[in-house]
């Protein structure tokens, strides 16, 4: 068996200041194995991966690669020794070509007498791109001309050109649509065929179970256990991750798709500059309207249109309030009329990372808090502490900065902004992207509560299970037009929907 | 990252702008000779103090004198002229047992603040480049003497305050108007009939404005002197290039000062050498060569010793003696004018070397407390006699 073992970590410890990120982590990965790694946000998954990939060093412990002690000096060094990593956040460098991005920090092989042979580099890049199955990307193109998805694929190419023994994929698929995912799955399969190993991190339990042979669970930096293919079951994994039983069901339990007849928001012939054409839809009081499709099908733009962020080419979004029709003209007006918007890009659009939880929560409510120009610190504190309490935001105080919070807690802060100002209509764009199951469950419960309280929700999501699990009605978009509509029922499956998407 | 870049860019631009400001300030207001540093190195002396044997003195030496404290409001080390001025003042301070406190200020606001600070620092007198009403007022209140050098005030209200002041010691500057007149006269005598003149934009510097006044007045006097073109602005070299191309008949150039070396280069590159004569201000690098080749006919400079005369005015006031009857009338000093290689050699030897333009004893002769005969007439003698020949005559024996 021991000859089978490719990579082993022994007793890894790592702390960041007072936070213990890893406690005595022992991993053993065999050849041909696809190992899944799960855990809540902050459980140490990314930390252990970046230690293996050489981006960080452990405080204690040792690593053994192919039977020899392994101490990478940096991620380029690690890559040379056969360990590559595709990271969670976009890691390409703008302003240079695709090929340069692929061979970043590793140009020596194309350099002769101090001169870099661009031709050789581009050829090599072309070959790598073809190998991973995406020959249509031009290696000489500037990286900025590529969309997010393709940039991610370039990162895969960067990880693969050195023909690694171990490939680490850190939550990459959450950011990808079908095309990118297929490429990743193919890459994983090829690695497996060549008797190499993959370490795969994802929040998507179904995905993990489909792809991996074994799954390791981490919690609070501790190694909880490893499950084999036979032992895998979603409930079990969730329980191990969270450390307790998730009470009740994950999604809402009822199959009652009915709602009030009263229309609260109406899209009339909405056409945006990007993707969406003549979109018409109605959102009713107390309804959860799901919008699904591939990531560039236009659903995100519809969310932005409903909040008045982008200018529409034609059509309008009408808000029906106390019998009067109001046209949405911009976020300021939308917020005044009790619409809240959760952006899909949490860190860049929804949050001020360098401000406290309190400042973030009160930011849309400032006009409400202002009494004769005065905003009392006490009223701000009251508002934010109420939210911290009801949303169970994990923090030492509401003056803690948002950049210190985990993804799930950040998302709770974003939700709190709109709960605090008493929004009636919620536009949620990928509300559970990149957050762990524990918080996910909270979010679903919250959405259901809101629905029952008569609030209306538009949920835009790339994940079909949550659309099916939560929506009263689902609209599927394809290339900017509605391609299918489904009402809530027990028998609705992903399979039924997927054909309308592609 | 972008923000960092923006910050870096912004800092760089700010620095650039400031550097620009500093230069224009210096060139315009104290008649810079930018490159005299190399003049100094040519003559082999770049030390920051003089070094000569003054011989026996009839005046009291520094250690016999009571200590005094004098403040100096200047533009800081902006150019070579400021360096020589400071060298000159530091020398006199040591000769007179005076402690000098330097304060950098150019803006009105800053000059006033620094006046307050110097008074607070316990100075008995202040010599300043910039003079504003509040400064006169503050010095009056505090009983601190005040003198202006290398600039003159023209505002009637300030002149009114000065006239009544008990503590104002006088103003002294170079005669820019007559400098302007002289340069025209010189070119005319050389036979130039088709000239151009160039200067900084109006308002940028009182010194340059006055030189232009002199130039214009003098040109009026000659009926057959043809002015082809004039330019006032910051890009003098560029304008000169344009003139060189546009007016082939041009035979004389008048420039009120600035980056003189650049003008020489334009003359060479545009093929003006040999046909055209330049008259300008600010002695610097290349002056000797150009005087020799004949490109340069007339050049004025040598303002550093003005600070020494201002120092003596202040010292007289502090020691209780008044020299000027009408404080609103500035004292005017000659420029040093070089017209030949011999002049230049003497300039290097007698002004940029180890000997100051006025020795301690020569300045002490201006102090009534040491020399009862010191009066306004003596001052005027010093000022109007000031020339290369005058210095050579006075100091030739110090070289033996």
């Amino acid at each position: 068996m021991s000859s089978q073992c490719l990579l082993e970590t022994k007793g890894i410890y790592k702390s960041f200041g007072p936070t213990r990120a890893l406690v005595d982590v022992n991993l053993k990965i065999n050849r041909g194995e696809v190992r899944g790694l799960i855990g809540e946000n902050g459980s140490g998954k990314s930390t252990i991966c970046s230690i293996i990939a050489g981006a960080q060093t452990a405080d204690e412990g040792e690593m053994i690669l192919k039977g020899e002690s392994f101490n990478p000096k940096g991620n380029v060094d690690a890559q040379m020794q056969g360990i590559s990593m595709i990271v969670q956040e976009a890691g390409t460098i703008s302003g240079i070509t695709v090929a340069s991005n692929i061979f970043l920090g590793n140009l020596k092989q194309f350099t002769k007498g101090g001169f870099l042979s661009l031709r050789k580099m581009n050829q090599a890049a072309k070959k790598v791109l073809e190998e991973i199955g995406i020959p249509e990307i031009d290696p000489t193109a500037l990286i900025d001309t590529l969309n997010f998805e393709d940039r991610k694929i370039v990162e895969i190419a960067r990880a693969m050109y050195s023909e690694p023994e171990v490939l680490i994929i850190d939550e990459t698929t959450t950011a990808l649509a079908q095309k990118g995912r297929t490429i990743i799955y193919n890459t994983i399969r090829k690695m497996q065929e060549k008797n190499k190993s993959v370490l795969f991190i994802s929040h998507d339990l179904e995905e993990l179970m489909k792809v991996c042979n074994t799954i390791t669970v981490l919690r609070d930096g501790n190694f909880i256990g490893t499950l084999t293919k036979e032992e895998m079951a979603i409930d079990k994994l969730r329980r191990l991750m969270v450390g307790r039983d998730l009470s009740g069901s994950y999604y809402r339990a009822d199959y009652d798709g009915s709602c009030d007849d009263e229309v609260v928001l109406e899209f009339n012939q909405v056409t945006t500059g990007v993707n969406v054409e003549n979109f018409c839809a109605k959102l009713h009081k107390g309804e959860i309207l799901g919008l699904g499709g591939l990531s560039d099908c236009g659903m995100h733009e519809i969310g932005r249109a409903a909040f008045g962020i982008d200018k529409l080419l034609t059509g309008n979004v009408k808000l029906v309030k106390e019998g009067k029709n109001l046209i949405i003209t911009g976020p300021e007006m939308a917020i005044k009329n009790k619409i809240g918007y959760v952006s899909k890009d949490r860190d860049k659009e929804a949050l001020i990372l360098t401000a406290s939880i309190k400042d973030n929560i009160v930011s849309p409510s400032l006009p409400l808090l202002s009494k004769a120009t005065f905003i009392s610190p006490a009223s701000e504190k009251k508002m934010s502490q109420e939210q911290v309490k009801t949303m169970e935001i994990k923090c030492y105080s509401d003056s803690q900065y948002c950049n210190e919070l985990s993804g799930g807690n950040k998302q709770k802060v974003v939700f709190s902004k709109w709960l605090a100002n008493g929004s009636e209509i919620f536009i949620l764009d990928c509300p559970t992207r990149g957050i762990d199951v524990g918080v996910k469950a909270n979010m679903y419960a919250l959405m259901y509560e809101l629905k029952k309280a008569g609030k209306s929700i538009i949920m835009i999501s790339e994940e079909l299970p949550e659309l099916i699990g939560m929506s009263d009605r689902i609209l599927i978009l394809k290339d900017g037009v509605i391609s299918g509509e489904f009402t809530r029922n027990e028998v609705l499956s992903e399979h039924d929907i997927i054909e309308y998407m592609i | 990252m972008k923000k960092l870049l923006a910050l870096a860019l912004c800092m760089a631009m700010t620095a650039g702008m400031l550097a620009g400001c500093g230069n224009s300030v210096s060139t315009s207001d104290t008649n810079t000779s930018k490159s005299s540093e190399s003049v100094a190195s040519e003559s082999g002396t770049s030390e920051s103090s003089y070094n000569f044997d003054a011989g026996e003195s009839e005046y009291p030496s520094a250690d016999e004198l009571e200590p005094h404290k004098i403040g100096v409001i200047w533009y800081g080390y902006t150019d070579q002229l400021s360096t020589s001025m400071k060298k000159n003042m530091d020398y006199l301070a040591s000769e007179f047992n005076v402690e000098l406190v330097y304060a950098e200020a150019y803006l009105a606001e800053d000059c006033i603040s620094e006046t307050e600070n110097l008074i607070e620092a316990g100075c008995e007198g202040i010599m300043t480049l910039g003079l504003f009403a509040a400064m006169v007022e503050k010095c009056e209140e505090a009983g601190v003497y005040l003198a202006q050098f290398c600039n003159v005030v023209t505002d009637d209200e300030i002149l009114g305050m000065i006239a009544d002041s008990k503590y104002f010691a006088g103003m002294i500057t170079e005669s820019d108007v007559s400098g302007g007149e002289m340069m025209v006269e010189d070119l005319y005598e050389r036979g130039c009939r088709n000239i151009v003149w160039l200067s900084l934009q109006a308002g940028a510097s009182a010194n340059h404005d006055n030189r232009v006044r002199g130039i214009e007045a003098e040109i009026e006097k000659y009926g057959d002197l043809n002015v082809l073109a004039t330019y006032r602005g910051t890009d003098i070299s560029e304008a000169l290039t344009t003139f060189a191309v546009t007016y082939p008949e041009m035979d004389g150039i008048l420039i009120t000062g600035g980056d003189v070396e650049e003008y020489y280069q334009v003359m060479t590159s545009e093929g003006l050498s040999g046909n055209v004569v330049l008259a300008t201000f600010d002695i610097g690098e290349g002056t000797g060569e150009r005087l020799e080749s004949g490109d340069l006919g007339w050049i004025a400079g040598g303002q550093a010793p003005t600070s020494g005369i201002a120092f003596s005015l202040l010292y007289n006031a502090i020691t209780g003696n008044k020299i000027l009857d009408d404080l609103t009338q500035p004292l005017y000093r000659n420029f040093l004018i070089l017209q030949s290689v011999e002049d230049y050699d003497n300039y290097v030897k007698y002004l940029e070397g180890n000997i100051p333009a006025y020795t301690g004893d020569e300045i002490k002769a201006l102090i009534k407390a040491f020399n009862p005969e010191a009066d306004l007439a003596l001052y005027e003698e010093y000022n109007t006699n000031y020339s290369i020949d005058d210095i050579v005559e006075r100091h030739a024996d110090l070289f033996q």
């Binding site: 973030n360 005065f374 | 923000k3 402690e99 406190v101 009105a108 600070n117 607070e120 109006a202």
Partner: protein, 334 residues
């Protein structure tokens, strides 16, 4: 058994958390005085090297006079820098206003008491052009203000081309009055503090400084508040233009030209975040302004040889920034 271990671990975790909260609270208390440390240091330093000259009562009056304009403009600048903007034009806008009020005062027989409001209104109008142009053309405000700076510089240079404009000093010097100045200063600091820290205006600007997209998504009219920031700084520049003129009595081509750099230096020395956001505090701007003035005042009174002044200044700068900046461990640029 495993359950027990787990429970024990959770207990430890809780304790660690409590300790962390305690640490953070203590750190916050210390941080409250940190911004003042630089200023305290520099005051003590000069008091010692000048043998107390810098801290006697007459010099303290000098200090108020000298820091007066900078403090006022820094209060305005807090709004601009707070929302993430930048203003390169302050100095020459001051010059431009000075020209306007000097001309009005000299030629049109306007009563003296009306000059101050006119000055403030001119400041608001001229400075707001920065914001308006930037918002309309979407050119970064840094560039716009650079252009406005040059335009104002040109106007001032043209206006004083023939001769510097002298104000009737005696007529206005009555306004150069310490009591009046103290009242104006107090009112401006108090108003600035209130508006920046306790009203929608300041809070929204800080949100903009933190993340402009989030600000838009939070319903903040960023166009309006961008322009407003420049109107506010314009009002302070207008105030300063008037009081500077009563002090100097003259408008020259360089009037105000040193202000922009002083403001930036004050912002840095006060520990004000250069790109705004939640950490922006009026108090930092004011402390920075006082620090700059104390430095200038102290260096002259100390009477140091000018050969060393710049070097000493640089070292003092570094010390002030070192002791008054709140830094996170391992962070180079905060």
């Amino acid at each position: 058994m495993a359950e027990k271990v787990l429970a024990k671990e959770r207990e430890e975790e809780k304790q660690r958390q409590a300790e962390l909260i305690h640490q953070m609270k203590r750190k916050n208390r210390i941080n409250a005085i940190v911004p003042f440390l630089g200023l305290i240091f520099i005051i003590l330093f000069f008091a010692i090297v000048t043998g107390g000259r810098t801290v006697n009562s007459s010099n303290l009056i000098n200090l108020v006079n000298q820091s007066y304009t900078l403090i006022i403009v820094c209060v305005g600048a807090a709004f601009v820098y707070g929302y993430g903007g930048m203003d390169m034009s302050v100095g020459y806008v001051q010059g431009f206003i000075s020209v306007i009020i000097a001309v009005i005062a000299m030629n049109h027989g306007v009563p003296v008491w009306m000059i101050l409001p006119i000055s403030i209104i001119c400041g608001m109008l001229i400075s707001s052009i920065n914001g308006i142009v930037s918002v309309c053309t979407r050119v970064p405000v840094f560039v716009v203000s650079l252009c406005i700076m040059n335009i104002c510089k040109g106007i001032v240079a043209t206006a004083v081309a023939d001769t510097d404009i002298y104000m009737p000093y005696s007529e206005y010097s009555g306004w150069n009055n310490n009591v009046l100045k103290a009242i104006v200063l107090t009112v401006i600091i108090a108003a600035g503090y209130y508006v920046f820290e306790y009203t929608q205006i300041g809070k929204k600007m800080k949100v903009m400084g933190g993340n402009i997209t989030t600000a838009k998504h939070s319903g903040i009219n960023v166009t309006k508040y961008t322009i407003l920031a420049y109107v506010i700084i314009g009002a302070t520049v207008g105030t300063v233009a008037f009081f500077t003129l009563t002090r100097t009595g003259v408008v020259t081509a360089s009037t105000g030209s040193g202000l922009m750099l002083d403001v930036m230096t004050a912002i840095v020395l006060g520990g004000f975040p250069l790109f705004g956001g939640a950490k922006a505090k009026i108090r930092s701007a004011v402390v920075g302004a006082v620090t700059v003035s104390v430095l200038g005042n102290g260096l002259t009174i100390w009477g140091l040889n000018p050969n060393y002044v710049d070097g000493v200044k640089g070292i003092l700068f570094l010390i002030i920034v070192y002791i008054s900046y709140e830094r996170k461990k391992g962070e180079i640029f905060n």
